[in-house]
Amino acid sequence: MATSVRERILEATYVCVARYGMGKTTVEDAARQARMSRATLYRYFPGGKDQLLAETVGWEATRFFQRLAAAVAATPDFATMLEEALIFAHRAIEQHEVLQKVLQTEPERLLPLLTVESDRILAFIQSFLEPLVARERLAEGLTAPRAAQHLARMLLSYTAAQGRWDLADRAQVAQIVRQELLAGILRQP
């Protein structure tokens, strides 16, 4: 499968971040890892290291949610899909070695980039959910975009911090989905 030059650079940067951290990764390192010259790299990322790191965070975040979307593709109904999404996302974040390492050692570098990304992440989750939401019987007066946005925000919230819940416990996740996530969304029978 052909990967674009851009993609190769982002992947190389990601490898460097995993190895050296965000602060210590240089454009030089990324170029060497991608087996290209610094000049080529700057042609694609004229903003240098800052742009490279910001776009690498966005790239990995997008990949994360693509993996999530694939993981829930085969679920039988909407509520089950949401349960699987929460369980998968929670586990994937806990087991994401690069994310966890950077959160431990240089949160001050990662979190501002992730927060800038969060609008785009929200929009991505919302656009994924919208056609699925539209198939459900929604509560009176609620539109599919509005419902999908609310769900996207809540999914992101539980994924980032489980709070009082244990998202490894399927029964608790089912309770979150039925009692909190879908409560205002589905029309009561």
Partner: protein, 209 residues
């Protein structure tokens, strides 16, 4: 009907000089952030000497910034508690709490400066593992105001749910929901929060004895 609730924040009881220095530091942060604020700036703003700042905050800038954070949190929850005490329905508790929080977050110059220009200073205190602490603290604070209408555990759960919404719209604002506008928040609460209340709650009924 007033409700007696212990506010789980420090009662600060600070001397006026100390308080003036903390307020001066806060004004400096709102103007140019934490990195560029020096103890000289703070002393000048507070109209006292550098020596006085050091005497009251022997830990220097770090200690002063911690004191600012503690003071601001105490003010935030103090204001929320005054607002929540006047609520007469569960809906009011959510609307008043979320609106007050939304306005205080939006109008806080220091916080907004940090979010815009020094996110690396503020976000590590609010995200991922630290977000769990924020959720725990905020829901422990808000739950007692809801317990008049529902069981303690349902109150905790509902308070955490509302906190999540408040944080989400504060961090990623939306064109459809304005957290600082009471009617907008009321619509949000009616659509998504009230239907999520636990089985023990009955907003139609009067407060529990």
């Amino acid at each position: 009907m007033p409700v007696a609730v212990t506010v789980p924040v420090l009662e600060l009881g600070l001397g006026t000089q100390e308080q003036r220095i903390i307020d001066a530091a806060l004004a400096c942060i709102g103007r140019w952030g934490t990195a560029k604020t020096t103890l000289d700036d703070v002393a000048r703003q507070a109209r006292c000497s550098r020596a006085t700042v050091y005497r009251l905050f022997p830990g220097g800038k770090e200690a002063l910034l911690d004191a600012v954070a503690r003071t601001e949190l105490a003010r935030f929850f103090g204001a929320l508690s005054r607002r929540l005490a006047t609520a007469v329905t569960p809906e009011d508790v959510f609307v008043a709490g979320m609106t007050e929080a939304g306005r205080r977050i939006r109008d806080h110059q220091g916080l907004q400066f940090l979010l815009a220009h020094e996110p690396g200073v503020i976000l590590p205190r609010l995200a991922f593992a630290r977000a769990d602490e924020v959720l725990r603290h905020a829901s422990a604070f808000a739950a007692p105001y809801l317990e008049r209408w529902m069981a303690a555990d349902d109150a905790r759960r509902a308070a955490e749910f509302a906190t999540r919404l408040t944080l989400s719209y504060s961090i990623c604002p939306s064109s459809e929901v304005d957290l600082t506008d009471e009617e907008s928040v009321r619509a949000l609460v009616r659509t998504f929060v009230l239907p999520a209340l636990g089985p023990s709650s009955d907003p139609e009924r009067g407060p529990r004895p």
